[in-house]
Amino acid sequence: MTRRGNRLALMAALFVVLTPAAAFAQTGTIADWGPNSYAWESNYTAATYISNPGSQLNAVGIVDDFAGTLAVLEPIPAGREYTYWMLNLVSQGTVITPGGFANTYRTVYVTTGPSAPNIALYTSPVNASFGTNPPNATVPSTFNDGPLVLSGSFQQITVTFIRRNSDQMVLSGNADTGTPSVANGVFNGGSALPLVSTNGQPCPFRVTGGWLAKAGSFPAGFSAHFDGKIDIDCPTPALESTWGRVKGQYR
């Protein structure tokens, strides 16, 4: 390589290094739900905390915080609410890992299809109501009404929680869809899609958070309280260019 070639290569390297971390490079939480969020299943044995194979998992809730690129939706106007619905997920059965302090319960729920929406956000006048024994007259209907704000698909969500052996008390847990990638955690619709896209490509996302299967922490007929959120992992955008254009930047 000639000296000029080396210089240009160095410049190109500097160009990449010096490119600002992009107006849109973003990682972290964009939507969070907490106290008002519950899951239910079609074939869950509450007495044993077992999700039976084939059981369908759903969750609904009220978003209480937007952050990152969705922070523009804050503050949520009085009289308006943003709700989420997690759907189209099928249990692979609960596996118990025995331990001395606690047994660990883990269930993997896989999507019903590669294009099936698994998480969707809506906005409507305040009307969300959980009731009991879902699905019911208000669940999911008061959580999937109004315009679609954002929807996406993921491959699976893994729910893990522990049950203390000394008193059989269910303690903390976690739910997570795993590392975001172009194949796992793909937004595909909603009015806010441009806010979570870069160069026209939706950012990969994950759904994750605390999972509380302890009885008494959710209304009758639900199976868990899900304090969760959506995180995105947007790559730093790169503009395609030719060597001529790159060199032109330095002339």
């Binding site: 939480t29 969070d32 907490g34 915080d65 302090f101 994750t208 605390g210 008494g216 959120k229």
Partner: protein, 228 residues
């Protein structure tokens, strides 16, 4: 005596007749943040003697128990003084047990205070300092703190009891609800936005016992309820 048995039976029936949907605990506060170890004397997470810390923001509270103004103030939380005293493995899971520690919530003016800033590699110039400035509105002692980690995925959770005993708003919580507990999910890796030097993203809640409202009454008033 027969009369007393009668009322006792009615009281028991009333209790048994409560709808199954009655919740045994109640939401107090929702938080999101990150955790780190300090001191961190031994490589790896949860080593004996290492201290567990978590910092972050309080997103919402139960308005029946606490009062916040998220427009004008920022609310932050901190778990601290928790030292790992034991651990147990049930592959791929690791349980870490901690000594008693502390939890506090602070209120800081958005216009006059200092915005919270995680920075990197805590302890640093802004963490925890920008999370513990302002007014302590609620705090207490954390016990039975247990952290569970899936060593294969980096996810996990924690659980602990909290006895609230301090803060400007601790008096607004009924005595019967001052002994609460906490749980959170822990996540690491892509998308979590975990700053360098922190270990996990933390997303959880503080919950307190649900107390069924009771109206004081005399035996006469109780008995008259059952007379025509």
């Amino acid at each position: 005596m027969r009369t007393r048995n009668y009322f006792a039976a009615i009281a028991m029936l009333a209790a048994l007749a409560l709808p199954t949907g009655v919740q045994a605990d109640q939401f107090l506060a929702d938080f999101r943040g990150f955790d780190y170890e300090d001191p961190n004397n031994t490589p790896g997470f949860g080593s004996i003697g290492d201290g567990y810390n978590s910092l972050g923001i309080v997103l919402s509270v139960n308005p029946a128990l606490l009062t916040i103004d998220n427009v004008n103030n920022e609310y932050t939380y901190r778990f601290y003084n928790l030292a790992a005293v034991g651990s147990e493995t049930a592959a791929p899971f690791l349980f870490v047990f901690y000594s008693p520690g502390d939890f506090d919530i602070y209120e800081d003016s958005r216009s006059l205070g200092t915005a919270s800033d995680y920075g990197t590699n805590p302890v640093n110039a802004t963490a925890p300092s920008t999370f513990i400035d302002g007014t302590n509105i609620l705090g207490g002692t954390v016990t039975n703190f247990v952290l569970t980690l899936d060593l294969s995925s980096g996810t996990g959770s924690f659980n602990g009891d909290i006895a609230f005993s301090r803060g400007t708003q601790s008096g607004s919580i009924p005595p019967a609800q001052l002994s609460g507990w906490t749980f959170a999910g822990l996540t690491s890796g892509g998308g979590t936005g975990t700053p360098a030097g922190y270990q996990h993203q933390v997303d959880g809640e503080i919950r307190v016992p649900d107390v069924v409202p009771a109206t004081p009454a005399t035996w006469g008033q109780v008995k008259s309820t059952y007379r025509r």
